[in-house]
């Protein structure tokens, strides 16, 4: 079983977000970067599938040199080799193009990634990659089992779950509880030193979006406590102060 896992390099979920350059650039000063939490689920499931079925895991990231510690962590968790496409991930289309190019050459049985990144939360790359490769693409996948040439998949849908069977190869955008996050052990970290990390240049520079500027969401307001008996005050505040009714 030959698995490609695509990971993002994203700010830690507790990071303080701020911008520079007239709100055109994300300020990375003091920010810790991690493997995208949803990508981390995809990687964890890939490691389990490899344990069950044998095979090889290739981890891929579209990013500049500073993403390499994140890629090494994925190797420490259990990927066998890595590919870094040496480019800033400009938009979903650009990233999908790079992934599709590697995937075409690699003959993968499965292409796994998170349901969305947690920086831009686009949730588009898996769909685009599937389209570019002419393969099914499913998301958000919360369960994935392989039997021979088919996979049994559970997908979250509005108000319930959908159970599907799909023939390999396909693309999946993963989320919990597909697997539990894996913490790299010391042997894995040592082993990651000598695993191959190949850097290749991007193929196609095309983008579909351009960034205008960033804006932070409005700060959370203070909580106002209203006496449970005083419904009219609540209605008044909702109407005249919050202006939501």
């Amino acid at each position: 079983m030959n698995i490609l896992v695509c990971i993002t390099h994203v700010p830690d979920t507790t990071s303080k977000i701020s911008f520079t350059d007239d709100n055109k650039k994300f300020d990375t000063n003091g920010v810790q970067f991690i493997i995208g939490p949803y990508d981390d689920y995809a990687l964890a499931r890939a490691v389990e599938l490899k344990e069950q079925n044998g095979g090889k895991i290739t981890v891929l990231n579209v990013g500049e040199a500073e993403t390499e510690p994140t890629i090494r962590k994925a190797l420490a968790i259990g990927a066998d080799e890595a590919v870094r496409i040496n480019a800033f991930p400009k938009d979903s289309f650009f990233v999908a193009n790079q992934i599709a190019k590697v995937a075409k050459e690699g003959n993968y049985d499965l292409i796994l990634m998170g349901r969305e990144s947690i920086d831009f939360n686009g949730g588009q790359v898996h769909g685009m990659v599937g389209e570019m490769l002419g393969m099914p693409s499913l998301s958000p996948v919360m369960k994935l089992d392989i039997e021979g040439n088919t996979a049994k998949v559970a997908r979250e849908i509005e108000g319930g779950k959908e159970y599907l069977e799909v023939t390999l190869p396909f693309v999946a955008g993963c989320q919990e509880p597909i697997a539990e996050w894996k913490i790299p052990n010391m042997r894995g970290i040592m082993g990651a030193r000598s695993k191959p990390l190949n850097v290749i240049e991007p193929d196609n520079d095309e983008v579909k979006t351009t960034l205008e500027n960033f804006e932070l969401p409005p700060a959370k307001g203070a909580v106002k406590m209203i006496d449970a008996d005083n419904v009219s005050e609540l209605v008044d505040l909702l109407k005249n102060e919050a202006k939501v009714i």
């Binding site: 979920t13 962590k73 996050w181």
Partner: protein
């Protein structure tokens, strides 16, 4: 799950709130670490947040040693990280070892004791002084956590003065006969093997590997500890135990052999105790900002700020000291007295910080909702074992003056 509640440490939660620990790095000491060091630290931190923090208050309250942690420590690679990979170790450097100990003790000193006894006091002597057969037989099983080991040096009547030990063995032809008793031995009640220091007929100290099941060997548990309650402690009793001759550690004899092990373990304590200090500081910093008295956060009062500022100062100094000591150990240049200075400094610093941090928490600080009381009580053992606070002072005194005060 919405993404803003996602944390990198799984979902387990105990009775106390989620473990939000972050380590201070006021002097950008992370610049001195490699990416691999940082990955090691974050991995052990995630491990502690998942496997230790949610349960530790309960274990400590019940004086329960969670034996299943032994296998988990083996899996993550916390046992013998500096031992060669050939024997199942990590093949890592001393900075990595220090960071691992810092993170585990940040969780709990008792848990760190379990790991440092196994690594520095059981695997290390077998690795350094053992025969090839002994290394092959014991090290992989100890590294993986299949076996737990313990280290027997202290005796009921010989603590600070181990050279006075009375435990002894006699040559009985094809085996040795071991007699005596050891006290205060971490891991003993659950240990599969013990590295025991005993005198031969000429009074010279040797290390022997004693295995559970050997006739005349027992490991009664020590009860009633108010410290290291999640770590198990016991005695080692040897009543005419027949020990095969191939269980003697051939590589080194004399008191210098166990002292070399203690050097390695004390180095780990120097990092570990600062981990405990960081946990107390981190909790105090958060509490000071959240707790309102007189209409303001208590962190706005100068006396509280003084406490926090002094904690951060001492932690930062100790971090730098530990890092430099690790670099010297990696270069094979650290002396026993340099290690004494760091062990003594870190533990004293941690005890002070635990007490001050507890005060900042007011009454809440005495409960198990916060970690300070547990750390504080644990540190009372840490300031005593592996050479007491005062004995390390005397080691430094001897170094300075050339005149030992303890002989």
């Amino acid at each position: 799950m919405s993404t803003d509640t996602l944390t990198q440490n799984g979902s387990a939660k105990g009775k106390s709130a989620a473990d939000l620990f972050e380590s201070p790095d006021f002097y950008q000491l992370d610049d001195l670490l490699t990416e691999e060091h940082k990955l090691i630290r974050s991995s052990i931190r995630d491990f502690v947040k998942k496997e230790i923090s949610p349960f530790i208050e309960d274990w400590a309250e019940r004086a329960h040693f969670p034996y299943e942690i032994v296998k988990k420590f083996g899996d993550i690679g916390a046992f013998g990280p500096t031992v060669s990979e050939t024997y199942g170790g990590g093949g890592l450097d001393y900075i990595s070892y220090g960071l691992i100990m810092q993170e585990i003790e940040r969780g709990d000193s008792g848990m760190r004791s379990t790991a440092s006894v196994q690594g520095s006091l059981v695997m290390y002597p077998i690795y350094k002084f053992g025969s090839e057969e002994q290394k092959k037989k014991y090290l992989p099983k100890l590294a993986s956590g299949e076996w737990l080991g313990c280290f027997g040096l202290t005796e009921p009547d010989h603590g600070s003065n181990p050279s006075g030990m009375v435990t002894n063995f006699k040559d009985a032809g094809d085996h040795y006969v071991l007699n005596g008793a050891k006290m205060w031995i971490s891991n003993a009640p659950k240990a599969e093997i013990a590295v025991v220091w005993a005198k031969d007929e000429s009074g010279r100290i040797h290390g022997l590997i004693v295995e559970r099941g050997m006739e005349g060997f027992s490991t009664p548990e020590t009860h009633g500890k108010w410290s290291l309650r999640a770590s198990t402690t016991g005695e080692l009793v040897f009543d005419n135990v027949k020990v095969p001759k191939e269980n003697l550690l051939p590589g080194k004899s004399g008191l210098g052999a166990p002292m070399m092990c203690l050097d390695s373990a004390r180095y780990g304590i120097a990092w570990g105790a600062i981990g405990a200090a960081m946990d107390c500081y981190d909790s105090a910093r958060r509490y000071a900002i959240e707790r309102i008295q007189f209409g303001k956060p208590i962190g706005s009062f100068q006396l509280i700020q003084k406490k926090l500022a002094e904690m951060l100062t001492e932690i930062t100094k100790a971090q730098l000291l530990n890092w430099k000591l690790g670099m010297m150990l990696d270069a094979g240049k650290a002396s026993t007295s340099q290690i004494s200075l760091a062990k003594r400094n870190s533990v004293a610093t941690a005890l002070d910080i635990a007490r001050e941090a507890r005060q900042i928490h007011g009454g809440m600080g005495i409960t198990g909702e916060y970690p300070m009381m547990r750390h504080m009580m644990n540190l009372e053992s840490v300031v005593t074992y592996e050479g007491t606070h005062d004995i390390h002072l005397l080691i430094l005194g001897a170094e300075i003056t050339g005149i030992p005060a303890f002989k």
